[in-house]
Amino acid sequence: MTAGLPGPGLAQTLPSEPLVFGDGHVTVGADVSATFSCAETGGTGSCGDDTGFFNYSDYEYSTLRMLRVDVNAVVRANRSLAVVADLRSENGGSPRPYALYARLRPWAQHAFDINAGRVPPTFGAFPRRSYASDNLLIGYPLAYQYLTSLRPDSIPANVDELLRMRGRGWLSNFSIGDTTPNRGVPLATAFRWDTGVQVHSAWAWADATAALTTGSLSDPQLADDNGGKQIVGRFAFHPEAGLNLGVSAARGQFLSRNAARSLGVDANIDSNQTAIGADAEYSRDYYVIRFEAVRSTWTLPTIHEPLVATGGWIEGRYKIHPRFYAAARVDHLAFSTITGTTRTATWDAPLTRLEVGGGYLLQRNLQLKASFQRNSRAGGRVTHLKIASAQVVFWF
């Protein structure tokens, strides 16, 4: 007599599927990541901080030293209506709503949805992959994470004042509006979602999304702070399996009402953020290649030239083994040139980042990632910094 089936031979002991209860009406999932990093310290051999603030998405937190817990839930009332929520906690802080919206599908046979509330990002491709489990590497693309010196609540009095903040977006301050030093904004943030109404329609070869929201790409809002609305849209084309091409555009009011009042203007002032984006992804067999570019233009009442920032990156992944992949991203952020009283320079410091790394699947939904970053910036207190990072990701 011989045994027919060995005992539990599963390389999967953790639950990999979301929790479903309420007769299928409630689905709960989670995405948990713990990230630690060491920056070079000039030969001292110790583990340094990101002293150049290259990876800060918020004044207090570095994306490379973070414990993030996302708990998300979908409550389906019926075949037409669902409520979607995501609570996020960073570094043990109080949970805050990352997403909270109602989804209405008026016609069951057509993939046409209306979302209302704190809605998913419309612009670009990367914000849909901002969960750690979806990101090939540990760092984020600069256009969606790196803090420029611009702030919606504080206005530089002139070009010279803006130029003094080059490379200091993690702690920027200007003389008009809120003068307290605080963080600047990225071109488009992947860490906060905007509030409004979004419509999405999908067909076999394409899908289109449009939204009307209260904030702007760089400064999404829960409640309106300037009386202006943002219009944003995206069209994605899928000509064949594995190939996705997308274009996006957005325009919205940027400065807050309080900042405008500091200029002595009661009504809304003409201060917009306008952005366009393009993205492409091609995958086949064991590799994935992605490209994305974002070009954002801000207009400020005190600066007579538009402030343009362009971010672009290309990233790729190759699966070497069922458990292991290697990945790399080359990323650059460029700024337009402005002229002050004493010099002509880009309004913020251009930045290039090279990140290489890989991931190892311990289980289907438990992954170790490691990466190495080299940041180079033409300005700021720290201009070059190498950072090694490790991350553990668990999701269900």
């Binding site: 045994a3 089936l5 390389a11 389906r76 399996a241 594995g242 699966k319 069922p322």
Partner: protein, 222 residues
């Protein structure tokens, strides 16, 4: 006269019986039903807030199927396995069937019947593989040479998963939608029988297969 005929007939029967070779034991069957009495994990997609299909309700049906198998089988059974082919389709972002039971040496085809990419892979020690991304109309195959449990996933769609149970004998059966099973051609004898569903195996239960008959055995998985 009548007594002579009876005697003659009895004598002839006795002679015939003594001359005939001993009759071979006839194979029998084990049949019954597996009742799932626990909450079955659903195949619903992650509650990703960027997912455009949050309104799609999960489908439980395929998760109720189980495999019933002999824990041990007659040695002779292992000499008769012919390599076979099986198919696990990828359709509507689901592996079909969700549960496949095969013998060692079987080649399983994984066709992609969707118009989007899929990427079948497994991290199981029994068979670790990754078929890469391939489009609709294409198929890749994997041969399973070792007995064990293989958990199959799609690298692109996190809600897609399936099980392949590989046996080195043929005494197993996948239940139907109602949980009913039948294992045929089992040599007479007493066997330990196990029911398995979604990673949970029952305690072995003894079943005695009579000569040419059928043993009844029901399971409840909690």
């Amino acid at each position: 006269m009548t007594r002579r005929l009876i005697f003659s007939g009895a004598l002839a029967a006795a002679v015939l019986t003594a001359a005939a070779p001993p009759e071979a034991a006839r194979n029998g069957s084990i049949r019954g039903r597996v009742e799932i009495r626990r909450v079955v994990a659903t195949p619903g997609p992650r509650a990703s807030v960027t997912d455009s299909d949050v309104l799609k309700a999960p489908d439980f049906t395929d998760r109720l199927r189980s495999v019933v198998y002999l824990e041990t089988a007659p040695r002779a059974a292992f000499e008769q396995i012919d390599p076979a082919h099986a198919v696990m389709d990828q359709r509507n972002e689901t592996f079909v069937p969700h549960l496949l039971a095969v013998t060692t040496g079987t080649v399983v085809d994984f066709p992609n019947s969707d118009r989007i990419y899929h990427n079948v892979f497994s991290l199981s020690k029994t068979r670790t593989f990754d078929l890469g991304r391939y489009a609709a109309g294409r198929s890749q195959a994997v041969r399973f040479d070792r007995p064990g449990i293989v958990r199959v996933f799609c690298d692109i769609h996190s809600h897609m998963n399936a099980f392949i149970l590989v046996f080195n004998h043929r005494f197993f059966s996948v239940t139907d939608a109602d949980g009913r099973y039948r294992i045929d051609n089992v040599p007479p004898g007493t066997y330990n029988v196990i029911a398995w569903n979604e990673g949970l195996a029952s305690e072995p239960r003894a079943a005695t297969v009579p000569d040419g008959g059928t043993a009844e055995l029901d399971f409840q998985l909690r």
